[in-house]
């Protein structure tokens, strides 16, 4: 995830420049680098602690709006994983579910407002369905990535009603949402790791 955010720094920043203030890639790369340093010597700590620490680090190192949003997602996931040393696929889906809930609450946003939720919610639904269809772990997350990518494409067709992009209203149509894009990148990293 850390490498991915560094690689995609410029791309995400360009996306952000098109509709808002052009710092999403820079902030995400800075935040994930900070997470890397913070959890470097965690060794055998439980997943809950790692995720909670990552969340707090993202709040503090990313700043902006992505910090509280991604930070909330990781902290909520950390609570689910408290005391656990292994994460199975249903844990992972549950983490995405509580992340979506946390982000909706913190950002006061719903689906269809050209935000990261437009990638997250469809990917959650796709993963839940793939899980109940009995697909493999890798297939489940790949279904999630596919749905998230479609969600990113969908953000191109709508005007932003949340965040700084909402200020340019209709002019935001045609551009994909940077937050939805960064979420899709991160989920893709998970899919490729399996």
């Amino acid at each position: 995830m850390i490498r991915c955010m560094e690689q995609e720094k410029e791309f995400l920043t360009d996306l952000d420049n098109a509709i808002a203030d052009g710092d999403h890639g820079i902030n995400m790369a800075r935040g994930f680098c900070a997470v890397e340093q913070k959890i470097a010597d965690f060794g055998s700590k439980d997943i809950g602690t790692v995720l909670k620490t990552a969340g707090m680090t993202l709040v503090s190192a990313v700043g902006g709006s992505a910090g509280p949003l991604y930070g909330t997602a990781f902290m909520k996931s950390g609570m689910i994983m408290n005391g656990k040393n292994e994460m199975n696929i249903s844990d992972f889906i549950e983490c995405i579910k509580v992340s979506v809930e946390g982000i909706m609450q913190r950002g006061k946003a719903v689906r269809g407002e050209k935000t990261m939720l437009d990638a997250m919610i469809p990917s959650l639904e796709a993963m839940e369905k793939a899980f109940s269809d009995g697909l493999s772990d890798k297939e489940i997350i790949e279904h999630g990535v596919e749905a998230a990518k479609n969600g990113v494409e969908f953000t191109k067709t709508i005007a932003a009603t949340k965040g700084r992009a909402s200020y340019i209203g209709e002019r935001s149509i045609g551009h994909q949402d940077p937050g939805a894009t960064s979420y899709t990148f991160l989920l893709d990293v998970v899919a490729n790791a399996l």
Binding site: T13, N17, I19, A20, D21, G22, D23, I26, N27, R30, M56, V59, S60, A61, V62, G63, G64, S65, A66, G67, P68, L69, R106, G107, A159, T161, K162, G163, R164, S166, Y167, I168, G169, R171
Partner: protein
């Protein structure tokens, strides 16, 4: 990109260090991060705290001091400071009458200030928040997150800071800050964008004969693009939008002609020449005028016009003493 910097990742910290070295008589920085607080912390008053991304200098560190802000929290350029550092600021300035947070309406700023208030609440510190949203360029509708806070924020901080100095309660300071917010309107324009050092290129591009109207303060595009007109015509475009937003007829106002950082004072005064005449012609009485770089967007060439409609209370508070780096009264 051509700037007087060292390493892009050090711009904010080196700027804050330089600010402190110049003005250590008035302000100091907390160890934990870029939180600027006044040296002469005062008990028996509501503490006023604000914050936002860097790149708007002298906002907001320049307004920390007697009669204005107790703390300003600076994030990375154009990026909200993080909740944990805002929380440190709240703890540092909290005296015995509570803390009023006055951020600008920006999604990131609001989320981080809300999280910081939740943390302070666990310590038993009472906080309240009002949010500036003076930018008339943006429609205040269901389809946006509401209007942006821009240059008019400085006047809200002046009013709230003066009220806090009187020893008023948190509720009273909050109420007068809200009154200032309800009566202040701003609109801006740019002819050349700013470049965030770490991005290395401008946030948008404009041809030589173009301007971006209704611009915010984060280098984000404005509401529409138009061909460049004369200064008087542009000022009229901004004034028309402001004057149609609330009824200013027969009222007294404070006027701010604010530069975005790259526009010389020469042009700002030239603009004020027309703003003064246009308002006077409409029967609006100018009580006070401020011309200068109060809320900038790094090197952006542009300006905004702000009108604050005054009553007797707001006039008194506007005239009350303030001793900060960038605002004196």
């Amino acid at each position: 990109m051509k700037k007087f910097i060292n390493k892009v990742e050090n711009v904010e910290n080196e700027m804050i260090q330089g600010l402190i070295k110049a003005h250590s008589d008035k302000i100091r920085k907390l160890e934990c991060g870029n939180v600027l607080v006044r040296n002469n912390k005062k008990e028996g008053k509501v503490a006023i705290i604000t914050g936002g991304g860097s790149g708007h200098e002298p906002s907001f560190g320049g307004y920390v001091g007697t009669g204005m802000l107790d703390a300003a929290v600076a994030g990375a350029i154009y990026t909200s400071p993080a909740a944990d550092i805002i929380y440190e600021g709240i703890k540092a300035v909290s005296a015995d009458k509570g803390v009023l947070m006055i951020p600008m309406n920006d999604t990131g700023d609001i989320m981080n200030f809300e999280m910081a208030a939740e943390m302070a609440d666990m310590d038993g510190i009472s906080t309240a928040m009002v949010v500036t949203n003076d930018d008339v360029a943006v429609d205040n509708s269901l389809y946006t997150v509401g209007r942006r806070g821009v240059a008019g924020t400085v006047l809200v901080h002046k009013i709230a800071g003066a009220m806090a100095e009187t020893g008023a309660s948190l509720e009273e300071v909050k109420a007068v800050a809200q009154k200032a917010i309800d009566n202040v309107r701003t609109m801006g324009v740019a002819i050349n964008p700013s470049t965030i050092p770490s991005a290395g290129k401008p946030g948008f591009e404009l041809a030589d004969n173009e301007m971006e109207v209704g611009i915010g303060i984060h280098g984000e595009p404005g509401v529409y693009r138009d061909t460049l007109k004369s200064a008087d015509e542009i000022a009229d475009v901004l004034l028309d939008k402001i004057l149609s937003d609330i009824d200013y007829s027969n009222s007294e106002v404070a006027v701010m002609v604010n530069g975005s950082g790259g526009t010389p004072l020469m042009e700002l005064y030239l603009i004020n020449n027309h703003v003064y005449d246009a308002l006077t012609e409409k029967g609006i009485k100018i009580y006070k005028t401020l011309v200068g770089n109060y809320m900038t967007s790094i090197e952006q060439e542009g300006f905004s016009v702000t009108l604050l409609k005054l009553d007797e209370q707001l006039k008194t508070l506007l005239d009350a003493p303030a001793d900060t780096i960038a605002y004196k009264a």
